[in-house]
């Protein structure tokens, strides 16, 4: 059974249809990329997957159960999302932010115990954020903040990790580190990863399958070589491109022709 599956989803914001007839299935331990131009509905789709938005028609299923029938806390134990940015109004330090990832696992009056702090420590170690654990979140750079948010999602101990452009602010070293971490979690802990990105080469290199969205519909879905074609890119993004093969991995590689 697929861990995540969408069945004929329609969704509209203020009467405007932004998702139309979306269907797909993602198996456990798969890495799925979602690509598409601005406004094609990528972030909306992520929100529907983790049940913070509900489809107007059709069903979004996690473990075969519709998102509207899950409690918020139960979904949060299974699915974590790394958002693009978080605005912080009151001062919290990095560790406190990561600690919030433990929320779905704790009851109301309980304080975090040793186990929670160990999980938080590991998450921060993996994302290279321990050095500024005690610093105020709003004083960190964009890349550091993004890594803290990744650590928070890891502290949730999810089965499914959703990433919304989570590498844009990362420098090369931390990008490589993060991608290696994803690979490792994917193979060692069967973590399912769904990531939204504008970087088509990133999607081609690291995803098992890719969804190409075009104005709220799935234009193409499949293996990187099936989705990343010059014709698809021309139609969806309206740019001319050269698609060849990465000499090392043999996966499609895109170069813009301008």
């Amino acid at each position: 059974m697929s861990i995540i599956s969408a069945e004929n989803i329609n969704f509209s914001y203020a009467e405007k249809l932004v998702m139309e007839n979306i269907s797909f299935a993602i198996d456990e331990a798969q890495i799925m990329a979602i690509i598409g131009p601005n406004g094609s509905g990528k972030t909306t789709l992520l929100k529907i997957i983790n049940g913070t938005l509900f489809p107007d028609a059709g069903q979004m299923l996690i473990d075969g159960k519709g998102t509207s029938r899950w409690s918020r806390k139960d979904i949060a134990q299974k699915v974590a999302i790394v958002p693009q940015e978080t605005a912080v109004i009151f001062p919290f330090c990095a560790e406190e932010i990561v600690l919030m990832g433990r929320f779905p696992h704790l009851s109301n009056y309980r304080f975090e115990d040793k186990k929670d702090y160990r999980i938080v420590h590991e998450a921060m170690e993996k994302t290279d954020t321990l050095t500024f654990a005690a610093r105020s979140f709003d004083k960190l750079s964009a890349g550091e903040r993004q890594r803290v948010l990744i650590a928070r999602a890891l502290a949730q101990e999810p089965k499914v990790l959703l990433l919304d452009e989570s590498t844009v602010f990362l420098d090369l070293k931390h990008q490589a580190q993060f991608l290696a971490l994803l690979r490792q979690l994917n193979t060692a802990q069967q973590l399912t990863v769904i990531f939204v990105t504008h970087d088509i080469n990133l999607a081609a290199q690291h995803a098992d399958r890719i969804i190409l969205l075009y104005s709220g519909k799935i234009y193409a879905i499949g293996k990187p070589a099936e989705v990343i074609t010059a014709a698809n890119i021309k139609k969806v993004y309206d740019v001319d491109s050269l698609i060849d093969q990465n000499p090392q991995s043999g996966l499609p590689r895109l170069t813009l022709l301008t």
């Binding site: 409690s71 918020r72 979904i75 958002p83 605005a87 109004i89 919290f92 919030m100 929320f103 654990a133």
Partner: protein
């Protein structure tokens, strides 16, 4: 030369700012330790306030009366005991309860509106309550038991409801900014209505209304004090269960939702409980500004933003703060009394400017 001088003056402030708040993990032990310390401070302040006043009562006498009361003998045999136990003590306790209630209001409203400027006063709850009270006084409700406070309470709750409706209806998501804006608008309307009533009443009523408008902690009866204490304690227990959720809600509704908080339901519960606590306090004590804004801010500067610690320390500090303010109001021009709202505003306004300046930099 002049530049050098100013640099030297600013240095220690800068140093302080860079190094506070020092991050310490919020654990149950730490919450209990800090709360115990704050309770101790509260008791010391309370005791100090008990000694202060127009009539001088010797410290040794106070100790003797307290010892007598502790043995279970509550009979009042001297004028000093009368002043201590039926004038000063109830007033001190009441000041503490009101300070705590307003501070809770500030903490919760600031968190759910994600706006550091929110408090019961800004949201119009105090204004609505005042309007209810004034109408009550004008209609002669003061001759009934709990008449004026009851109307003030109705005014406060009606305001909460009105603010909600103006902000976008009782259904659907509550947008934080629209709630605050509609609070400001409703508050402005009430101020006008209050001014209108003030300009048409006779001078006897005017005096009692004015005192109410500026906060008056001397009129509450023992029963009313017990009522306010019950609301405060029950409300606090309910709110404390939501403290961790408040930390997440402060991060933004999307974040809270995805981390497992049922945001709409939580917000509604918080609003109802908080409105009740503050409405009770305001309806009995009148309008006391700035406590709700100042106390949570000040506590956040020292203890950080985790609501599991912020909530109890704000309650205890708010209580201490208002006791001090009320003691000053009682003592400075004794035997005449200042309205306590004057003292809180005199401390609060400069602090507010300091906060804004600090933010701008």
């Amino acid at each position: 030369m002049v530049e050098n001088k100013s640099k030297r003056i600013y240095k220690p402030i800068k140093y302080l700012r860079r190094n506070t708040p020092i991050y310490r993990r919020v654990t149950l032990l730490r919450v209990l330790q800090i709360s115990a310390l704050m309770i101790l401070i509260l008791l010391i302040i309370g005791a100090g306030s008990l000694l202060a006043g127009n009539v001088h009562i010797d410290f040794s006498h106070v100790l003797r009366y307290l010892a007598k009361a502790l043995t279970g003998d509550f009979s009042i045999t001297s004028q000093e005991e009368l002043i201590l136990f039926s004038v000063r003590l109830p007033r001190i306790i009441f000041a503490g309860i009101v300070g705590a209630s307003l501070s809770i209001g500030g903490v919760i409203f600031q968190a759910i509106l994600r706006n550091p400027l929110a408090d019961p006063y800004v949201l119009g709850i105090s204004g609505g309550s005042a309007l209810g009270a004034i109408i009550g006084i004008l209609l002669g409700a003061s001759s009934f038991y709990l008449g004026v406070p009851l109307l003030a309470f109705v005014g406060a709750l009606a305001t909460v409801f009105l603010v909600f409706v103006v902000a976008g209806g009782t259904r659907g998501p509550l947008l934080d900014n629209s709630l605050l804006l509609s609070g400001v608008v409703v508050n402005a309307f009430f101020s006008a209505a209050i001014l209108f009533f003030l300009s048409i009443v006779n001078s006897m009523e005017l005096h009692s209304i004015t005192f109410w408008l500026m906060g008056d902690l001397s009129r509450a009866s023992t029963k009313e004090i017990c009522l306010a204490a019950f609301c405060l304690i029950a409300g606090f227990v309910l709110l404390y269960a939501q403290a961790r959720k408040l930390n997440l809600i402060v991060q933004g509704e999307d974040t809270a939702l995805q981390l497992g908080v049922n945001v709409e339901r939580t917000k509604q519960r918080l609003l109802i409980v908080t409105s009740l606590i503050t409405a009770v306090a305001v309806s009995l004590a009148g309008i006391i500004g700035f406590v709700g804004i100042m106390v949570p801010h000040f506590m956040r500067l020292i203890f950080g933003s985790d609501h599991r610690l912020l909530l109890p320390v704000s309650v205890l500090f708010g209580a201490s703060f208002l006791i001090v303010a009320d003691t000053i109001a009682r003592v400075v021009f004794a035997p005449a009394e200042l309205p306590v709202g004057v003292i809180t505003a005199l401390c609060g306004a400069p602090y507010f400017i300091f906060l804004l300046k600090r933010k701008a930099r």
